[in-house]
Subunit: 395 residues, 2 copies
């Protein structure tokens, strides 16, 4: 048994690339047994993508820990028969094919329930299983565009901008894992199955927050404002002698603490700066005064001094800096995992800190098909049968 | 009983602003009963923030549906006594105070378990309950800076950039809800309680994806590249006659489909454009050729034509456009909710589409303290006792 809260739950994972594998990895981190089904000889395309070292993808490693890998050619009857036997032992099935593919494979919800009456099946796709765009191809970048997200991000004088990270994939993966977990709660109580449909576009649209609320309240689209706050000044990036700091004095009380800590009471003692409204009007002058003071000392000093004064302030870190940061290290947010044949591999840790039934790293990301024989044997296949499947390239 | 998968689960919600309220709203959308505890006379500060209309916050409405509100002054013995009686009836407690506050209130995990032996308590904070920065104030913007996220986003010739939306708050809210749901699965099976600690910085750090993998594999920080893809060209925003389109030909096969659909085979027939590597080197010329063709027709036409050709392509939508989009409407991603006294209020719909036990909108966001009397009565307080608590301003 694993330690995590989903210990004893078996997940069959038909996903590839990012949103689906992230979702199933979250379930695996939480203690579920995840069996990743891949195409013989090929496998998940991200096995050959992202940060590579000596032919090994650290990108794949970071999204496929706590999983086993079996190969099955699902274009063969024998491969589909093995998949059905596997599903019969599973609690959850996750897939991110195009919307009609699972049904075309004979694994629509009604068929799945005949194989396993209380199955929870989760589909993750670009636009979802319904609606006029359901058959369109999609990627994270397209979802960032279609969801309005990009219109919120960037400078007012430049074009709308995507996040540098595939946030639509990742948020959809989180929603998938949450929907699955909540369906498992219900299944424990009622024994009932569930069918879940998560779309990248819906997922990142749900983050509209104040842009959405502003539109619904006023009919207006808020403007992009770079690192500035739309309705608070000062707020944003400021430039210390050796780099940038982020400062977020979100209300008048914290603004006063900031001006005290910067010893700027005299310089800011003008009707032009007396209220947030006036400071918004004179933002350039406010920012220039603050930057002039901030530029005199190194950034680490400001982070110490301003936080001590109760002003939220942080370094604008690169990833190399973040991964070495004492807080990130204290939170064990970087894990070093021994990968047989590839040495120790670093990856992101667990953001969910449970104390009674913790997330844990049990398995490094598997080699393609590493667990095929073991899993097939556990399903009742004999050694001869497994050999024959290998000879026929079904596995 | 509610329809959703968390029907029958009661959540006591001590959170305010964004990450916590988003987390508890997710649980409420999934069918949990959420009782939001607010300070008498004040309540959650976002009741007065974000998109306002006639003194009513659409921002608050969009993050507090499916909740009841009770007021309790937790600085009084009577208020704390009522909270304890409420917790004794609850399955889950969620809070986003500074790390030591809950313990200082006498509600550490050990104390909570004495009130309710199988309680699941989830704390959401800027840096988490451990580590050297645990006592620092924090906000979403600071977490975007400290987590490395900003270093991934923006143009190479401009400073690192935050997402325009409070993504650290929202991702932390999702992790909180996921950790809670998975702990509920375990509680159903074992009867055991759980204590969960989620930090904004950890949460958004976990999205490092290819930036993280590239650093772990090579020791190098990837550069910011605006809307371009770091290793694929062409890819990004292109300018139709009436606005921008996002085009994502992520591999050679899709690139060929794009060039066919644009009728650019002749123009692109040069060794300078023969491979992705060459196109990366000559990205400016590639983009100019494509833009010249794209600029000749309106954006809706390109979206139709390119998707029909199997090339992922989407409009770069504003929120007003996204909310009117036929796909978003078909997915019911905009809900119109009758708020007594405020008319119909629009808000974002449910990105988790479950078919057997669906998310549903049962309650509009509550007026401050609207459910105080009902909830106290359900805990066994008499009408006289409730009146006295009101007179003493405990509620």
């Amino acid at each position: 048994m694993t330690k995590g809260p989903l210990s004893g739950i078996r997940v069959v994972d038909l996903t590839r690339i990012l949103a689906g594998p992230f979702s199933t990895q979250l379930l695996g981190d939480l203690g579920a047994e995840v069996i990743k089904v891949e195409t013989p000889g090929q496998g998940d395309p991200i096995r050959g993508q992202g940060g590579m070292r000596d032919g090994f993808s650290y990108y794949f490693a970071g999204f496929n820990r706590n999983k086993q890998s079996i190969t099955l050619n699902l274009r063969t009857d024998q491969g589909m028969a093995a998949l059905r036997r596997l599903i019969a032992t599973a609690d959850v099935l996750v897939e991110n094919y195009r919307p009609t593919v699972l049904e075309d494979m004979g694994l629509g919800f009604e068929a799945l329930k005949k194989i396993k009456s209380d199955i929870i099946v989760c589909s993750i796709s670009g636009y979802g299983k319904t609606g006029p765009y359901r058959d369109r191809p999609s990627f994270d970048f397209i979802a960032q565009a279609m969801s309005g997200f990009m219109s919120s991000t960037g400078f007012p004088d430049r074009e709308p901008l995507r996040a540098g990270l595939p946030i639509s994939d990742l948020v959809a993966g989180l929603y998938g894992a949450l929907a699955i977990s909540s369906a498992l709660v219900r299944r424990e109580r009622t024994g009932k199955p569930e069918q879940i449909d998560v779309a990248l576009v819906d997922s990142i649209l749900s983050f509209a927050s104040y842009f959405g609320a502003a539109y619904f309240a006023t009919g207006e689209q808020m403007g992009r404002c770079g690192n500035d706050h739309p309705v608070v000044a000062p707020y944003g990036l400021f430039h210390a002698s050796d780099g940038a700091v982020a400062i977020a004095p979100s209300n008048d009380q914290i603004y006063k603490r900031l001006i005290d800590a910067l010893d700027l009471n005299e310089a800011m003692d003008s009707p032009d700066f007396a209220t947030n409204e006036m400071r918004m009007k004179n933002r350039d002058r406010v920012n220039a005064l603050i930057n002039e003071r901030i530029s005199q000392r190194p950034r680490a000093e400001w982070v110490e001094r301003l936080n001590a004064a109760g002003v939220p302030c942080g370094l604008v870190m690169t990833y190399p800096e973040a991964f070495e940061d004492p807080q990130i290290r204290a939170r064990e947010m970087v894990l070093k995992v021994e990968h047989p044949g590839h040495g120790p591999v670093e990856m992101i840790g667990f953001p969910m800190k449970l104390t009674e039934a913790q997330c844990e790293l049990r398995l490094p990301a598997p080699e393609l098909g590493a667990d095929t024989s073991d899993v097939l044997a556990s399903l009742g296949y004999s050694a001869d049968e497994i050999s024959e499947l290998r000879n026929m390239k079904v596995v």
